[in-house]
């Protein structure tokens, strides 16, 4: 039997309230309330609770743990992902994966841990005056996160899916890097995206959230923050609705919370949505805008030997060959990685239906997959998306894909196909509706160069939502300052991935951990009596 640290903690008396089980409306008070229990919320919660503050963490998802993580997409997607993993941009052209559970996206992420690239930091200094030097430098805070979350280069040989990327890079003379991962005792199973069944992944669920609960924090799950109440330059309270077993909001049972300080860690889309519903002052008119996605396109390849891309650490190699090739603000750069391949994940992406689809699915074990993550936000033609609210207040991201991004898409398909042929792919399948199954690099290249690049023709996805509440030192061009302090509301901090002024050009978690460690340290000093 695998021990479940969450069940054990609850048995030991952690202060947990399940909103779904509340039968009447409630009011709570604390020193600090943190909305969201993901990368930003988790780090903040542990630090503040350890510093002796009375902390309440609110999470709209449930308190699922390793005993619930049965390595099946069928339950993982509805249980652990926003909108059952079906979230899409307004025009439905981009699918968005985000966590909705204790630990947020860290509970379902793929463990790749990369520090914020220097060119990205320089861009933020230059364009937004973000403070990243001297005592504000992030390096000590990255180190702190790396120690706390056991982040180290993955010492195990890559699985065949990642090996293909490594070999391709070597063949073509491209850069490649071994991924650092936040794991302890990882059995190389490959199911990180469905919640780690053996608690090896050092997500917020098994590290900082237990750390906070062990220091007397209260966690309220299945509770959806609707809005803040505020007056003049201060937030005065939180208004929230409980969520039922099917993740639907219950208007009948409400919760209000009052605190001295409020921390928003609801992530990209989520944090901006709460502020928009609260109608807080927004003189820069940037709230919800400049939301970035690292839009991802996909290339499959049929290999002669089994790849079994569902098995083994999902990401252990990446290539930054094309990331900053044309400078930080030139043509769209992209990062090459591979994803885990599971039945629903690949079944919904493979082109076509019926016999054509079935023929590919039957070769499931021989499918190798590359993904390309496009760096958005560094160019005037890459303004990202805007968070809007549906009539019922649900966030909807309007993210038009510009020609600048489409150009990156085409070059991505080309790079991925070339890499796949370099390692002997029998056929390459760019995930594009016009895409066939190409058996030579020449034919693939010709076809890709003629692909219509428009919505719905290319399958575009994202697992990295960033921005929407960008940081900066000028209140005319930012929502919060470099430390996540809201420019207008004095007792509100935003500590999550929504403060990034652009995308990162790296998988986001370590950037969030580092920045939040730095900013919460400052907040603790500020709040200390």
């Amino acid at each position: 039997m695998i021990a479940d640290p969450i069940k054990q903690g609850l048995a030991k008396g952690w202060d947990h309230v399940d909103g779904a089980k509340l039968t009447s409306s409630q009011h709570y008070e604390a020193d600090v309330v943190i909305i969201g229990s993901g990368a930003g919320g988790g780090i903040s919660a542990e630090e503040l609770a350890k510093a002796g503050f009375k902390v309440i963490v609110v999470e709209m998802g449930g308190f699922k743990s390793s005993s619930d993580f049965v390595m099946e997409e069928k339950s993982a997607y509805p249980d652990l992902y926003q909108e059952s993993s079906g979230r899409r941009t307004k025009d439905k052209a981009i699918g968005i994966l985000q966590g909705r559970t204790v630990g947020g996206s860290t509970t379902v992420n793929w463990t790749t841990s990369i520090r914020t690239p220097e060119p990205t930091q320089q861009y933020w200094r230059d364009k937004f005056g973000v403070k990243l030097d001297g005592e504000d430098a992030l390096i000590p805070y990255f180190e702190k996160a790396e120690v706390r979350l056991n982040i180290d280069p993955w010492p195990v040989p890559p699985n065949p899916n990642n090996q293909a990327l490594l070999d391709g890079c070597e063949k073509l003379g491209y850069k490649s890097t071994v991924v650092s991962r936040n794991v302890k005792g990882c059995a190389n199973l490959g199911y990180c995206g469905m919640g780690c069944p053996i608690n090896a992944k050092q997500s917020m669920l098994v590290t900082t959230i237990p750390g906070a609960l062990n220091n007397k924090a209260k966690l309220i799950t299945n509770l959806y923050v609707q809005n803040f109440k505020w007056a003049k330059d201060k937030v005065t309270g939180v208004e929230a609705l409980t969520i039922d077993q099917d993740f639907q909001r219950r208007k009948s049972v409400k919760v209000t919370i009052k605190a001295k300080h409020y921390i928003l860690s609801a992530g990209g889309i989520g944090s901006a949505a709460i502020l928009k519903r609260s109608e807080v002052p927004d003189p820069s008119e940037r709230l919800g805008k400049f939301t970035f996605l690292h839009p991802v396109v996909i290339s499959g390849a049929l290999m002669a030997d089994p790849i079994k891309a569902h098995s083994g650490a999902p990401q252990s190699i990446y290539s930054d060959e094309f990331l900053f090739k044309d400078g930080v603000d030139g043509k769209a750069g992209y990062k090459l990685e591979v994803p885990p391949v599971h039945p629903i994940l690949i079944g919904t992406k493979l082109v076509g239906y019926g016999e054509q689809h079935a023929a590919l699915m039957k070769q499931f074990n021989n499918i190798q997959v590359h993904i390309s993550l496009i760096r958005d936000g560094f160019h005037p033609e890459s303004p990202g998306g805007t968070v809007e609210l549906s009539n019922q207040g649900d966030p909807i991201l309007d993210y038009p894909i510009t020609d600048y991004i489409w150009d990156g898409v085409r070059r991505s398909y080309l790079s991925m196909a070339e890499l796949q042929f370099a390692v002997g792919a029998k056929a390459v399948l760019p995930i594009h509706k016009k895409g066939g199954s190409y058996t030579t690099w020449k034919s693939a290249k010709e076809a890709i160069n003629n692909f219509p690049l428009e919505n719905y023709w290319s399958s575009v996805v994202s697992a990295h939502v960033m921005g929407g509440c960008n940081m900066g030192e000028n209140s005319n061009t930012s929502v919060v300052n470099s430390y996540g302090e809201h420019h207008q509301l004095e007792n509100l901090s935003i500590l999550d991935g929504s403060v990034f002024p652009t995308s990162l050009g790296a998988n986001p978690q370590l950037s969030i951990y580092g920045l939040v460690y730095r900013n919460v340290e400052r907040l603790i000093n500020r709040l200390k009596p």
Binding site: K74, S311, G347, S390
Partner: protein, 170 residues
Amino acid sequence: MDRRSFLKTGLLTGSMLVTGTSLYGCADLDILDTDLVTDDVSLALGALVPVFFAGVLPDEPQMRKQKIKQVIDGMRIAMKRLPPHTLKELEDLFGLLTNRLTMLAYTGSFSYLNEMPTVQAMKLIEGWRTSYIGLLNTAYEGLKELLVASFYGNPENWTVLNYNKPDLGV
């Protein structure tokens, strides 16, 4: 009404798929209490499952029927957990699928989906998939996502893939 006006009716209903905002609203969440997979919708979906899963459905009629039902049931369960705005869109999509006028517009046949030969249902799906009209594309993608998730999320069907999840020995 001529063929073009039929088409327009279909498109009008369908336009809600894209905006996602047109009909629902106010505070009421009635949609959550409605079973969107009505008998008619079930019949229409029953005609589409063989299109989407040609090549992997069993041939034996009883088993085939059983499998089709299983896919639709799986979809119904998954839908319970979707947000209201998505359910509203699905309601519109199901409206399209059960409307004889839209069928005429998209397949040239004035019959319900379940009365059509599979080739004709296929024509509808292929038309939506390759349409230059965004809402038909999204309708196709939406249907495919729900059906594929229901089918391949079911461990029984993993034999098609020659896949199994690891045994942790617990």
